[in-house]
């Protein structure tokens, strides 16, 4: 497993979590890594301080690896959830966290970036899903004065203040 660490880190640098068989395939390893005791191998690996950045997550019965030097937990969890097809609940959770905990709206533009990385069709489909899902009736969507979309949860923010936050530019008055 030690031989694969540098590749795990490389994938992480590009925002990707990987399974060991995926790494093996990409680097052309003839023998697939044993998957039987992957947890044991991982525990063995991170006992060495130089590999302490390597993290493991189980998702849909597969073990994924990443380096915490390049990927934080929240990103890893979202990445895995999106890979499991849970795009809508992932976004909803992010919006609720932002509005209820951080006093913030969520810019629609985050959907352009990893781990969502949606094109305009995907974004529109997601907005439609949101609007149609009764579980998401607290999630609102609006546009800034510049025409940029943003989301917020009415559990944490009212429409007026969400608009203030969405249009706030910290450099408007002073640079």
């Amino acid at each position: 497993m030690q031989d694969l660490v540098k590749y795990i880190r490389l994938f992480s640098q590009h925002g990707k979590l990987v399974t060991l068989p995926q790494v093996a395939a990409v680097i052309g390893l003839e023998e697939e890594p044993e998957d039987e005791d992957v947890v044991g191998q991982y525990v063995q690996l991170i006992l060495a301080p130089e590999y302490a950045d390597i993290c493991m997550r189980k998702s849909a019965d597969e073990h994924y690896f990443f380096s915490r030097k390049h990927i934080v937990d929240s990103y890893a969890n979202r990445w895995l959830a999106i890979r499991r097809g849970e795009v809508l609940p992932t976004l909803v959770q992010q919006i609720r966290e932002a509005s209820c905990q951080h006093n913030a709206v969520v810019d629609e533009s985050i959907l352009n970036y990893k781990p969502y990385a949606l094109d305009s069709e995907g974004r529109e489909a997601l907005r439609e899903q949101l609007a149609a899902d009764p579980e998401c009736c607290d999630i609102a969507y609006a546009k800034t004065a510049q025409g940029e979309g943003y989301f917020y949860s009415t559990r944490g923010l009212n429409a007026g203040y969400a608009k203030v936050l969405a249009n706030y530019d910290p450099n408007e008055w002073s640079c």
Binding site: H70, Y75, Y161, V164, S174
Partner: protein, 712 residues
Amino acid sequence: MAMNYGGWAGKVLWVNLTTSEIWTEPTEKYLDYLGGSGIGYKILWDHHVDGQLGTDPENVIVYSIGPLTGSGVICSGRMTVTSRSPATPGHLITDGHVGGHIGPEFKYAGYDALAVIGKANSPVWIRIEDDKVSIESATAIWGKGTFDSNAELTKLMGQDAQVFSIGQAGENLVPMSGFMTPGGHAAGGHGAVMGSKNLKGVGVHGTGTCTIKASRDEMRALDDHILGIIGSNNNNVVPSTPQSWAEYYSSGSRWKARDEIKWGAADEPVELGEVAWNERNRIGYRCSMAEMYVGVEYTNKWLKRMGGCHACPIRCYCEMKVPELKSRFKFKSEYITNTCGGFIWGNYLMPTTAGTEQYALTATAGAYLRDDYGIFSGYGLTHHIFKDMKTADLFKHLLSAEEFADVPWEQWDNNEPEFLVDLYKRVAFPDSYPHENALGRMMGDPVSYIDIWKLDGTNPAIDNWNIYAESNVHLFNRSMRHALHHASECASQVGTLINVIFNRDPMCHSHINVVNGGLPYDILAEVCAEKFGEGAFDPVKWYTPINQGKVNFAKWCVVKNVLHDSLTICNWVFPLIISPDKEKNYRGDSSIEAQMYSLVTGDKVTEEELDIMAERTVQLHRAFTALEMNSNDLRRDHDVLSDWVYDIDPDKNFGDQGTIKMDRDDIQKALGMFYEAWGWDSETGIPTRATLEKFGLGYAADKLAAKGLLPG
């Protein structure tokens, strides 16, 4: 304090331009004031003359550094300039700050400060090569801009020297003027002081070192610690787009590196990619913030690399290669380097739209012209005044018909950056026009023109237009007639109080380096509550009444600001009470400055002890303000805000969501609490004798008492 400490060079260099005398005095007598602003204020106090003007020959101008300058500790490249400033009402004392490499060079030449008094008979520059100091003729460069002047001084002294000079604005005694070093580093407000002395510039070459008491390993460990908690410019600790290594992002963050941004004008274009907080060997890419000034498209075309000051890993200066500067504007060079306001002010003045070609050209051509002429804008104040008055169509009532016809208004109307070519010439050469050139004079001396043109709501010819009622003008301190600089719009009463007590815009980023750091509100509020008390930091545009936490926060910011300008380190990054490290729960370390100081000087101090030394300078500054204004009530005479601060958003009340509106009674209460926190008289805001004596400033108390200005 014996002079066997590391850090300080040990001498203050004096030059009398009237008598051509040159001498030194030991720094030792100033050590209680640390350096930088501290030395500047102490020297100015010792030479105070009632009613003196900044342009009087006997006014002293002090260029000073501190024990950390040039030591190699992170961001220790700055220099302070202190003098009476013609850009303030009554020519009160102000200090400006310049980065680059000039400060460290003073240290290596063996000086902690250069104090200049008197007036030369003809244009001169001061040449400093270690112990060899001479006054040289500047006749050959008088009349030239700072670019040519600095190039000529560098040619005369050699490439290892560091230089600075004034442009034509300073020569022509324009109050809103400053000096420039090569590389876009500027200090504003004292260009005319230099001009009045016939002092065109200064060149320094030192072959010495900065003595450091700690071992190399100790210094290295400190660097490692700082690199583990430092953010980008303004200590922004999150990237500007969602990135896998960061839990949070903020679109306003100055951590711009990402896949879409490159140093496109580099000989070999550099693709930056994402730069995670723990990639220490790529910190220099992290900031790359030219898109704030010219947009992404022109960043990728024009940004050559990032530059900056001595020992700074953050590199906030955008070195740009803009072919249009030569091809379209016929400037001598296609290169322009600057940061923040240096690029921004032009677009405060023109009716441009961000992201357009005009916007990018206005930013760069405007920077080139202001830097070359050595024009100061008072944190954009003159540019806001112009735009607001132009938009209200007031100039036709204020300029003579001849002058009005002479201004190429259509260029402004058509959004052509060429308008700046015409306008800045009017500012830098006020006397070169067949008419009064009131427009150029106003842009160069707004403090006087508020009275001359009666811009205070008492001129019926302009429908009683009131500059103090116009939020777009950004004039914040009504008495000092200076612009806001991270004031009530930022951190409510905290920013307000910080913007009240100085004589010019405060240039304080201590609060910004926390509250604009990019972390979510709940984390920042928690950090501020831990450090300053509950409720110290309000949510965006949703303010609460004054409380002790906010007062503590504001006082801490001012102390750290003056500390940085005295040590000297960069207040555009420090203090670091937040960090990008999730493992540290995003906490930084506010004792970094004390650690730096202890290691470099060998004088082991705690954070509290060092802060007390910086506070001494704040106390002296406040006593000095009362003395210079001959005021026994600074609340009434100095700490007065413009009406718009209270009257903005007429449909909202203070405390409503969505407004930065302040409340008159609340601010009066806040001032009282602020005064008490400093040990000033709670009514008049003047330091009491007990406070001054506590800081070893009994001499200041005596002087105020003798003038009848001391409270009680």
